[in-house]
Homo-oligomer: 233 residues x 2
C-alpha cells in the first residue's frame, strides 16, 4: 500500500517551556488519597481526561478500554464497603507495626472525591488474533494502564487529583457495575480537584517505603552491568 | 504519625500554555516503527527519559521496574532475529489479506534505531506482601506500563520517537539480557530521534484498524448506560 505523504507531519522537540510543562506534570503527579475538594468536576473536564486516556498506545490499536463515570453516592458507598472489607483482609497480611501503620493509611477517597472513574479492559476486543498480542496475551492490560497514566497526567495539568484503588478482587466490582464476563476492571479511580499535593510520594512521606535510587535500577547491555549515569550539569 | 505540614505543597491547575503542552505530548505521541534517524541519543537525554519513567505511580511504591540500555549492535541483531522468528509465527495466525498486510508492517526499528531500552518488572520486589497488591498480583505489571507511558511522553517532548515491540515470548529475552527468574521484560523499546511522525496512529493510516469513537466507550454509573458527552464549544 502506497502511503499518502500527508500522513506524516514534521515532529521535532518541544520548546523549552513545553518540555518543562510535560516534565512538571510527570514529576508532580501524585496518587491522591485524602486531599480531594468537594467541588463538582465539570463534564467538559472529564471529557478532556477521557480523551487523553483514549490517546494511549494500544497493542494492535486494540483500544481495549472503557470508562465508567460514577457520581452516584449510593453506588460509591457500595464500592467503598467492598474495598473496606478487602482492606481488612489486606491489613491481616501485614505484621505488628506494619499492620498498625497500614490501618492508618486506609482511604475514604471513594466517597470523599466527587467522582469515580472505573477503567476497564475488554479482553475480547479486536477479535481472536490481535497484532502484537500473539505472544503476550496480557499486553491489552498494559495498554489500559497506559491509558490510566495519560489520564493521571492530564488531571495533574487540570489541577485534578487522582487516587488509584486496587484493593479488591476484579470480580467484586462485576455485579455493582454490571461488567460483562470478558471485561475486567483495571483501575478504580477517585477523582476530584485538589488544592495541595504531597511534595513526594505519600507512602514515602508517611515512612511506609522509600523512593529507590534510579541509578541502581539502570543497566547497560544486560542485567547487572551498571550504566554510567551522566553527570547532571 | 503526625505529618510535617511542609510535606504538602500548593497545587492547582497548570497555566493554559502548560496544559496545552501536556495535551500536545499526549495527542501527538506515536508508536514509531520506521522513522528513526541514526543520530546518537545522548546519555543526558536517556537519563531524562528514565527519570520520567521512574516517576510513574507504582503499587505500594513498589517501583518494580529496571531499565536496560542497549546500544550494542550485535546484541540488537540477536534480539531482532528472535522477534523476526516470532513475527513469522504471528503472521501465520492471520488469514489471507490480513496475513499479507501483516507482513508489510514488520519492523526493523530494533536495529534501525540507535538505541533500545528494555523495561522490566521484578515480580519479587518489595517482599511477599505489597500494599495495594494483596488482591491483584499483576498490579506491578500495570505500574511498569505506567513507567513506559511516562517515558513515551517525555520522549515526545524531546523529539525522540519510541516503538514498543511485544512480538516475543518473555523467556526469549531472558538468555540474551541475562534476566533473573523473577524479572520479566514488559516492554522492549526502539528509541531514536525522529523528524516526522504519523498524524494519526500508523495502523490506522495503513488501514489495519481504526480509532474507536470515544463516546461509544464511556458509560455512566454502570456498563451499557451511555454517558452524556458534553458539547465541545
Amino acid at each position: 500500500m502506497r502511503l499518502d505523504p500527508d500522513e506524516l507531519a514534521a515532529a521535532g522537540p518541544f520548546s523549552k517551556a513545553e518540555r518543562a510543562a510535560v516534565y512538571r506534570a510527570i514529576e508532580t503527579r501524585r496518587d491522591v488519597r485524602g486531599e480531594f475538594l468537594p467541588q463538582r468536576v465539570p463534564d467538559a473536564a472529564i471529557a478532556r481526561l477521557l480523551e487523553a486516556a483514549h490517546h494511549a498506545p494500544s497493542v494492535g490499536l486494540m483500544q481495549p478500554w472503557n470508562f465508567i463515570v460514577i457520581r452516584d453516592l449510593d453506588r460509591r458507598r457500595a464500592i467503598r464497603d467492598i474495598v473496606m472489607r478487602r482492606n481488612d483482609e489486606a491489613a491481616a497480611m501485614f505484621e505488628d507495626e506494619r499492620a498498625a501503620a497500614y490501618q492508618r493509611l486506609k482511604l475514604e477517597g471513594i466517597v470523599e472525591a466527587p467522582l469515580n472513574i472505573c477503567v476497564t479492559c475488554d479482553r475480547g476486543r479486536g477479535g481472536k488474533v490481535v497484532l502484537g498480542r500473539t505472544h503476550q496475551r496480557d499486553t491489552d492490560l498494559l495498554s489500559t494502564a497506559c491509558a490510566v497514566q495519560n489520564l493521571f497526567l492530564a488531571a495533574r495539568a487540570e489541577g485534578i487529583g487522582v487516587g488509584w484503588v486496587s484493593i479488591f478482587e476484579p470480580d467484586d466490582l462485576r455485579p455493582v457495575l454490571g461488567l460483562p464476563d470478558a471485561v475486567v476492571p483495571v483501575a478504580y479511580l477517585c477523582v476530584g480537584y485538589v488544592a495541595e499535593l504531597f511534595r513526594r510520594p505519600e507512602l514515602e512521606a508517611r515512612k511506609w517505603s522509600k523512593r529507590l535510587d534510579l541509578e541502581s535500577l539502570v543497566f547497560a547491555e544486560g542485567w547487572g552491568s551498571a550504566w554510567a549515569f551522566p553527570e547532571v550539569g
